[in-house]
């Protein structure tokens, strides 16, 4: 068996050495030493769900049933020979697996040692058995069993007992404070194309940027919506990445299986049947880590997703997925009302960006209608706007600010939804004013979508947080094109406000997403997806959710 996980027992062995020297009666008291050893063990033995396909045989590894060649998702649990050597004649260390239907243990030889489903629930180790190693395997996220360790005397009595928890890591959705790794965008030649967008990502991210074939995946440009990346991690830096394959299932449906699935990358689906627009990755986002007003720490942030209410009915993500996310405990999901949006995704009007100068290392970027009108009302109304003319029927600034209905619509959106969302986030995340950054935004009603809306000014909050090879923060932001000369960024009416809003440490990359994405009711974030590096250990930082 090729295992990689090892529970470090150095501190425990140190305790053992001290214990061996404590021999006041002139004789060794092995049960005390073994007891101190057992009591010094961490209660939680962290593992990971073995849900990927390391041996590329087309099956989830847990289902291989003993074929663990090439396996790297088992946690190594070692019991030192020095401890076992302290067992007296007839004494033994009994190891019992309790509740192990979804947890099993292998010997280094590859023999199955413990498995509840097979009735293999007990091992007995004696003095002279040498170092014993178990390779713990879990079938799913948060699967848990008890490992009972007992020092048993020659007469059968139990001198001491220690119960350990064998726990697989939860599935943790990535947040924007995690460093980015790989980034994907579909290269498009239709509908005006996205050459500038591709070039922007490629030049900054280099070989960590990947193009998706338009022809192979039905010109489905909405890469953010088909999948959501998550990770499940264990000790010693090991991890399994998980593609949460949403049930949206448009052209990109086979993309994760074709291009991503394999060793250390699993593709999993929750739910089935007809999808709504809410069943999209762009509607599934995660706050940065924070502590709420009640002092509850969320070291992995909290999941948030949009709900679309109409009359007495509410549409949101598939119940199987929302239930699963709740069951993972550590990122307790909450919802936001996105009923005013045609697409209905949370990424259309807000996001979080890292900022080392912020009190908690991040700031909320929130769309603000009033700010947009303040800028436009102060501008020369004769500034012509070629993009807005073809895209929205506004030939200059004057036509926008003089559109009374548009202004009233946006005031309604601000009052009914944006202000409410800010209030929700303030209370949920204990956000301070300093942590909230407003950016100018306007929305307009979209034909074919009842009276719901989409971004009029390209939804700048709908951005990608990335990092270059050197770890520098890179923001890929929809170009607002609120200017006459498209090549003159300095003349843009909105860009100065954005530059003031975003963290000084970030490199701002303005992306032309107008034709393919903006006019298709999305922006940069909607057409992109990113893997990220886990930086926090759940087994040390999030146990308060798992008790």
């Amino acid at each position: 068996m090729n295992t990689t996980k090892r529970i470090l027992l150095g501190s425990i062995l140190a305790t053992l050495v001290i214990g061996c020297g404590d021999d006041t009666a002139g004789t060794t008291v092995p049960e005390v030493t073994i007891k101190s050893f057992l009591e010094g063990m961490d209660e939680v033995v962290a593992g990971i769900a073995n849900i990927d396909d390391d041996n590329s045989n087309g099956k989830e590894d847990w289902k291989d049933g003993g074929d663990v060649a090439g396996e790297n998702d088992l946690v190594e649990f070692t019991f030192p020979a020095q401890i076992l050597a302290m067992l007296g004649d007839g004494e033994l260390l009994r190891v019992t697996l309790v509740g192990g239907q979804s947890v099993r243990a292998w010997a280094t030889s590859g023999d199955l040692m413990l498995e509840g489903a097979s009735g293999l629930t007990t091992l007995e180790w004696m003095s002279g058995d040498g170092e014993q190693t178990l390779h713990i395997e879990h079938d799913y996220f948060l699967s848990e069993a008890k490992l009972k360790l007992e020092h048993v005397g020659a007469a059968g009595g139990v001198f001491t007992r220690r119960n350990l928890r064998l726990v697989a890591g939860p599935l943790i959705l990535n947040n924007h404070l995690m460093p980015s790794e790989d980034t994907w965008v579909m290269k498009v030649t239709s509908w005006g194309g996205n050459t500038q967008m591709i070039d922007s990502f490629s030049s900054v991210l280099g070989n960590r940027f990947h193009e998706i074939s338009q022809n192979a995946y039905g010109s489905d440009v909405w890469v953010q919506d088909e999948i959501e990346f998550a990770t499940s991690s264990g000790p010693n830096g090991h991890r399994v990445d998980v593609v949460v394959d949403l049930i949206r299932d448009r052209g990109l449906d086979p993309f994760p299986e074709n291009e991503l699935e394999g060793p250390d990358m699993a593709v999993m689906v929750w739910g089935s049947g007809n999808a709504s627009s809410q069943d999209s990755g762009g509607n599934l986002e995660i706050t940065p880590p924070f502590t709420d007003a009640d002092g509850i720490e969320y070291p992995f942030g909290r999941i948030y997703y949009g709900e679309w209410s109409y009359g007495n009915s509410t549409t949101t993500m598939h119940n199987d997925l929302t239930t699963f996310m709740e069951e993972q405990k550590v990122q307790d999901p909450f919802t936001l009302d996105t009923s005013f949006l045609c697409v209905g995704h949370v990424d259309e009007f807000m996001t979080f960006v890292p900022d080392s100068t912020a009190p908690r290392g991040f700031r909320l970027i929130m769309s603000d209608v009033d700010m947009a009108y303040e800028i436009l009302d102060a501008a020369d109304p004769n500034i012509s706007l070629s993009r807005y003319n073809s895209g929205h029927g506004f030939s200059d600034v004057g036509e926008i600010i003089e559109d009374n209905a548009l202004r009233q619509l946006n005031n309604e959106i601000q009052e009914d939804y944006i202000d409410t969302t800010i209030a929700t986030l303030r209370s949920t995340m204990n956000l301070s004013d300093e942590e909230i950054v407003l950016i100018p935004a306007l929305f307009e009603t979209v034909s074919q979508c009842y009276d719901t809306n989409a971004a009029l000014i390209p939804g700048t909050a709908n951005l990608i947080v990335g990092h270059d090879a050197d770890g520098a923060l890179e923001l890929f932001i929809p170009d607002p094109f609120m200017r006459t000369n498209e090549n003159d960024y300095a003349s843009d009416l909105m860009i100065p406000a954005f530059e003031a809003a975003f963290p000084a440490e970030a490199n701002l990359n303005w992306v032309d997403d107008w034709d393919v994405y903006h006019m298709g009711l999305g922006e940069v974030h909607c057409g992109t997806n990113v893997t990220r590096t886990p930086t926090t250990n759940w087994w040390t930082e999030a146990l308060h959710f798992l008790d």
Binding site: S277, T420, T445, S447, D451
Partner: protein, 278 residues
């Protein structure tokens, strides 16, 4: 008496689009009519086809990288419906072809709806085609998409169409028409129609009409709104209350329903009611 039919056919190309026109002429004449009458009819038909051809060919210059407007396909939006996103399609030169494609119902309803939306952003002549679509398209979803674009047309060009569409048999069309009237700079001219729609059987229509009354600033219609504060639909209550606040904040703050609306089950309604009272 003998019936006579003459058919002529014209084929021409524009923007790499081949357009075939058929003209049918009928005549009723008595036996013994001379052949020259038939020839006259034939000549008339041919001249007509020729004029039609020249008229189509005399439009603005076609760009070198022109788009085949009869076959260009819309993109699938993030929301799932179709939309023409390429900005070049809004150039004036493409409007006639797109209009023809829309009014001739060459495509299915989802594409026609996208065409209507695209045309309303066109820099060319588009109003007639979209008006025709609102009036005649068989699919209500297409009429619904088309009517929204009429907010960008002159009032005189669309007034009668909007006043008819607000009584369309389809509730979605009626609701979008009420909304479009509110979004039109001269929508106040249709205040009476909006007031009538406040009693529509469909709550969406009532909500849109109430909102539009506020948007167009129809102060005279204020008295028709308080009754909607008791509507079963939260959207109707919200839109009516907001319109009242817009039209007469003082009178709105005295509305008898305000106290109950402060605890409305819909947070938007309760928030607004509490703001009005502040």
């Amino acid at each position: 008496v003998t019936a006579f039919l003459l058919a002529t056919c014209g084929v021409y190309a524009r923007n790499e689009v081949y357009i075939v026109e058929f003209h049918l002429y009928g005549a009723l004449f008595q036996t013994g009519v001379k052949l020259k009458r038939l020839l006259a009819i034939a000549i008339f038909g041919s001249v007509y086809a020729g004029i039609a051809f020249l008229a189509q060919s005399s439009n603005a210059a076609v760009p070198a990288d022109s788009v085949d407007v009869m076959t260009v396909e819309p993109a699938t939006t993030r929301a799932g419906f179709l939309r023409f996103t390429d900005s070049t399609l809004t150039e004036a030169v493409y409007a006639p072809g797109l209009s023809s494609r829309l009014t001739n119902a060459v495509d299915g309803p989802t594409v026609r709806a996208a065409l209507a939306e695209l045309l309303s952003r066109s820099e060319g002549e588009w109003v007639d085609a979209v008006v025709y679509t609102v009036q005649h398209d068989a699919d209500p979803a297409v009429r619904e998409a088309a009517v929204v674009g009429l907010k960008r047309a002159t009032w005189s060009a669309v007034e009668s169409t909007l006043l008819a569409a607000i009584t369309d048999e389809d509730a979605g069309v009626r609701a979008m028409t009420a909304m479009t009237i509110g979004a039109h700079p001269e929508g106040a001219n249709a205040t009476l129609a909006l007031v009538s729609s406040l009693t529509d059987t469909d709550s969406d229509v009532r909500a849109m009409a109430a909102r539009s009354i506020g948007w167009v600033g129809a102060v005279d219609a204020f008295s028709a709104l308080p009754a909607l504060l008791d509507d079963a639909s939260a959207d109707v209550r919200l839109r009516a209350l907001r319109a009242m606040r817009t039209l007469d904040p003082v009178a709105t703050s005295r509305a008898s329903q305000l106290s109950s609306l402060k605890t409305d089950a819909d947070i938007r309604v309760s928030n607004l009611a509490n703001k009005i009272n502040e």
